[in-house]
Symmetry: C2
Subunit: 249 residues, 2 copies
């Protein structure tokens, strides 16, 4: 154990749900988790979206949990027959599911005992060895087993679960990110920018075109772990763009 | 060759870009392509988001193109050093890149010859054996090789490329989709809905909670290839919900 944050803590997101793949529901969780991870110093390295199919979920989970520090899943933890995420996680880890009495009790604070039917009890199932991830919104928690954190698909609930689990996560050095608006087409500065990127190999330098209010806009993003080096990279980029302006007259 | 559409034509989307994983850019292409595929009768089965890293792109491409009828990539086809999608696709297919004179000519209609520098020429590189995917927006095409269709990341350009390539794609029987608003909590109808899903195994029946305007709303979605069977499934669901209402008084 050390007080120094790890240099790189990584994560993947696994979105589980036919409704995202059919386009019926537009995912709002990927972008939210991506930004959240960046802000707490975790590198999101991969995202996958898979259907509500057992083997697809298990295979994706096993591929991702072997590769990254954390895997966050969203979706498939409700009471209906198509909610199979807990089963899939248990299968991936080779453990049984148990019914967690704390979840049963939390549910009983919100419904009559006769309404706690078999379907609703499904939401109290947790893989053996799992820990609960509290959810203040509707009290039914997600869970965490090993490096896999299982969250709801409804964004408001997912966000509450992320807030619950975040303080327990190992985090790395936060990236410093700066952006420079490029007053030139990408093709005009690409070679010079590539030279800067090559010279500053500790930085991640990218150029991102977008189309806003009827015109293209290019932003150059400079990211790195050392704020001073990022600032130096920004100076390089600004000097390069100034040279370009001078050349173009 | 037959006039009957294939029963199932599948697809995957591969989003390439650090900016999506950092959360700086919120992806708008996944949901758009998902809905588009559903509308033309192609089953989107998987989505992956990977960083601008050669081996990650090549590995994901090879995994996806082996499994699905089509793979659509977005992002990484601009002129800057971080645009490596064409290189990655060529590597995945084990072929060389060539400079396509049609693209060079299209670029020359929009810029002076002296502005057609080495960086911009990168955008004219196509893997050998590839075909162009026209892009009316800024004239610089995407390309297709084998079952992989390579498109821009900027949504407006991606959408134009999708329109260009769609008429050339094999498509399957379109799914019919109907939705029923459930006037009950998921836990109340989960068991009965599971029974319907089991009895109608040709249909895909799902229950989707969302949180809109301060309250939860559950929608039951019934999908299938045979519109009559979908209608029958809708009747089953509506009868089930009516029984539930009667029971609750």
């Amino acid at each position: 154990m050390t007080d120094q944050p790890a240099l790189s803590v990584t994560a993947a997101v696994l979105v589980i749900g036919d409704e995202i793949l059919s386009g019926r529901t537009k995912d709002k969780n990927i972008g939210y988790i991506a930004e959240y991870m960046t802000n707490i110093g975790i590198d999101l390295r991969e995202v996958r979206v898979v259907p509500d199919v057992m083997d697809e979920i298990v295979d994706a989970l096993n591929a991702l949990r072997a590769r990254y520090t954390y895997v966050f899943t969203t979706g498939g933890i409700g009471p209906t027959h198509d909610d199979i995420t807990a089963d899939a996680v248990a299968k991936a880890f080779g453990v049984e599911l148990y019914e967690d009495q704390r979840i049963i009790e939390a549910m009983l604070t919100r419904m009559k005992p006769e309404d706690l039917n078999e379907s609703r009890r499904r939401m109290a199932r947790v893989p053996k060895g799992g820990e609960l991830v509290p959810n203040p919104v509707n009290k039914i928690p997600g869970f965490r087993i090993g490096n896999v954190i299982v969250m709801a698909g409804v964004p408001m609930i997912m966000q509450a679960m992320l807030d619950s689990v975040a303080p327990t996560l190992e985090t790395g050095v936060k990236l410093t990110m700066q952006s420079v608006d490029a007053d030139a087409p990408e093709g005009a500065y690409a070679a010079a920018l590539g030279d800067i990127a090559k010279a500053r190999e500790n930085l991640s330098i990218g150029s991102y075109p977008s189309y806003v209010d009827g015109k293209f806009r290019n932003q150059i993003i400079i990211r790195g772990r050392d704020p001073q080096e990022v600032a130096a990279g920004v100076q390089d980029v600004e000097a390069m763009l100034a040279t370009l302006r001078a050349e173009r007259g």
